[in-house]
Amino acid sequence: MGGDAPHKYTGDLVNIERGRISREIFSARAVYDDELERIFPKSWLFIGHESQVPEPGDYILSRMAEESVIFNRDRRGKLHVMLNNCRHRGMRVCRADSGNARKFMCPFHAWTFSDEGALIGVPKLDTGYHNELDKSQWGLIEARVARYHGFVFACWDEETPDFETYLGDLRFYFDDYCELPDGTFGDWQAFGGIFKWKVPCNWKFGAENFAGDYYHNPSHASVDQVVLSPAGTKGRHTYDEVTRERELYKLNICVTPEGHTARGELFKDDYDYIPTYQDMAVVEDYFRECYTKRQERLGEKARWFGHGGTIFPNVSYSNGVQSMGTWHPSGPNETEIWRIFLAPKDAPVEVKNVLRHYVIRYQGPAGLTEQDDMENWGSAHLGAKGTIARRHDFHYGMGMGYEQKGWPVEWLGGEVHATEDVSEQNQRAYYARWAEMMDTPPDTRRHPVSVEAAE
């Protein structure tokens, strides 16, 4: 257990003032153990999308840090996130990745839990327990649940502020992500299936890369030479074609003190739609119409086109391909990545197909783009492990001192800083938040779950 390890993070392993971060934070077991106690139980973690459990009784398995959780909709329609862990001896009470169930029966001694997590069945309650077991105290451990425009997050800690407060000034950017292409808050529909795969690197490499690393374009030099974008031209982004004719700011956005980040483009004018999907009339019409509606609806704020970002600590959202990628920690040296992809529920099937084909060729283990990212994260991780290498900090100083507030336009947010093009301000904001939480021992606050209930 590293909970009491004498690490000092802010100003030491994470020295934001000097733009230096120790490689230890990626490779040391004691740091990782601290993360499991100090970061994950106190943060809002991404669970899934409501459309993954549309009907009463529907469930999927999700994850919070290393642990399996049941994400379900009970028979009354309420969403729950519960530790998939029997209170008797810790068996997984749900062992299918998805399904529909009114109750979950533990395979070991058959304690049975309702779809609300209540313990409703205990074999030999009379002869074995002499009716002295208070079932009301032994239900599944349930997390707080937040629904945000259909995206579901959960948190173990009662003292963590509500999700909207936690989101802080990322709200504008995450709202932009949650909006349909026409700028309304309509329904997204997750495609069936979840990409789950293992990458040999610390979980933070993915999180910080998606936080805003426009500097890593050389990683993708190969995919930029082939056709990936559904716009049918060379390159990986649909917007590459569109933005070529625009005047814009390419921005890194960090939200302090929450440590969330965004990246995207701010057009300098209210430009008209540029034809993008010339060979696909239905798709072209759909996006043209959405573009116009969005402009009418949002006014000058429609000039913002988000690319994505990271919600602290471990979920990254990607606009356009509309995915949520979660960096589940699996030991200091391994990440299990889970990705879901969504499409506007009411879009024509042609649009859904274009989006689906694009995303599964872009991201994930078969994704032409993400393959090269993972290769580099894996190598970077190895580089954080060597005895000699670990004595030398990583450089996180790019663009330091050039962050601007309320720029280029005031409405980009309150506690928000922006830099143009390439900068590591987003990584600095992310790790500043990380270090602050890591310096807060878990025993100075209430335990993340109510252990008293177990007495």
Partner: protein
């Protein structure tokens, strides 16, 4: 025509032999990194599909694989997309394949399920060993269902369904061909 049982059996053996020859050559091309030559074995209208596999409760196995053309799939593409994958490797800067993997493609349990004048339906089990750099090692094991189209004495692959026996992918990427 002689329709004795021996003749029927000889026909079956001949078909099997040709399919085995075809798959052996295909594996040789892939393991020899002759990716462009491998593309020539694929029909222009090929469907290349690998679903994502899920753990399901007993009796709900129809939901075990994600659906082609509808859900997320590891692969759900045609020849143009496969050509892009090959092109990406041939840039020499596709870092996930640079240095390029060492692969050994093996197949067994060949069944010719159905045969018509134009096409054959086949099934094999596959085992692909991959090794990269110093220690990166993966085994890809599963089932492959093919539709082969007759081209003269040979074949082209008109459709390929690949069922990998993993729910959480144990490899960090799928940069190889199946």
């Amino acid at each position: 025509m002689d329709q004795s049982p021996d003749k029927a059996l000889m026909d079956q053996i001949l078909v099997r032999y040709r399919v085995e020859q075809f798959y052996t050559m295909e594996a040789e091309l892939l393991d020899g990194r002759q990716f462009e030559a491998w593309l020539d074995l694929l029909a222009d209208d090929i469907r290349y599909w690998m679903p994502v596999t899920r753990n399901r409760n007993f009796g709900e196995w129809d939901g075990e694989h994600t659906n082609e053309g509808e859900d997320l799939n590891w692969f759900d593409e045609g020849k143009f997309e496969l050509e892009q994958r090959v092109k990406q490797i041939m840039t020499g800067i596709h870092w996930a394949e640079e240095p390029v993997s060492r692969t050994t493609h093996m197949f067994s349990n060949l069944q010719v399920i159905d045969e018509s004048a134009d096409t054959l339906l086949t099934r094999v089990r596959f085992l692909i060993y991959r090794n990269r750099n110093e220690t990166e090692t993966d085994f890809f094991v599963g089932k492959r269902h093919d539709k082969l189209r007759r081209i003269g004495e040979g074949f082209e692959v008109a459709a390929r369904e690949i069922y990998l026996d993993q729910s959480v992918l144990q490899a960090k990427n799928l940069t190889i061909f199946f």
